[in-house]
Amino acid sequence: MAWQVQFRVFRSSRGEVPAHYDPFTVEIKPDETVLDGIERIWAFQDRTLTFRHACHHASCGSCAMRVNGVEKLSCVTYIQDVTTDGGTLVVEPLRNFPVVGDLVVDVSPMFHRMHEVGMPIIRSAEPLGKPESFNRFENCIECGMCVSACPVMLTSDQYLGPAALAAAQRTIAEPRGVDVRSIWQLADDENSVWRCHTAFECGEVCPSNVDPAGAIMALRRRLILERIKSLFGRGILARQRGG
């Protein structure tokens, strides 16, 4: 049996201030997804609604948005998990990215930052052993949800961000021929590893168990050890200072 759900959808064209929310009443089954509802709005109520989607099975990350204030992949977020019959769903674009239009954001700033740290998306053989060793950065689907959830990114445009820092940690841990000196320099910066305030929201919302916060803490530990080593003129940081 279908539920009646009111979608309150964020609407904004580039540069339009202030943005507003449009209400749409949608007949939808509880085991359908938020993306199903948005597609129905576009198909039957408002063809001007802009949103992004592709795979419909949590592989591409393109349908990432905020549902009732929390980052979700709308293609795998079931209606029954986020509202009730007669309830309301507030649907908004990701935070901390420029809005292109309605629910679409420009994620290129995140990709530029990931490119700076080597963008380690090449998958080598998976390690065998404990299950947690499978939580590798290569599982990242580049959805940008960690960037949106991070409270530090709310107030700083300069912060490298959880996705890029997780990528940096992966590249340093497994360089595969990449020169990691510049990545160490990027990581050991006030707007990088040291800017994180350990709120763990990046890991809470990550749909792929990448655990960016864990990666940042691993980088911190290595940097602290390298700083101690550098006091005795040893280690990567000391060598960098020495040219």
Binding site: P93, V99, F200, G203
Partner: protein
Amino acid sequence: MTGNEQHNTALRWGDTVRWFDARRRGLGMWAFALNRITGVLLMIYILVHFVNISVLYLGETAWNQLMDLFRRPPFLIFDVALVLVLLYHGLNGIRLAILALDIGVAQQKRIFWGLMAFGTIVAVFTAFGLFRG
């Protein structure tokens, strides 16, 4: 929607208020927001404390009168609240320092609740001691 717009400044102070919106967020975000709130409260307390101890300049009688006032139950409740704020901020700070060394990151929620349980026990004993005089 300021958070979704591009800004030229490095720090967007206007959006700082959104640090405190932890609705529907995880434990880490609540801990983050509470740490900031308790930090501000401790800063205010230190300023008030400076004003209090400056009463010493008014002489011994004024100081003793102030101390008598502070021993009354309403002020003791304030003292207990101060201990709670101090314990939260301090213990969460220890948690963050441990996590920054990449120790127990996967158990961060358990570490939080463990330290909070310890803090609650300390607060109860402190409150008991304060009210017993």
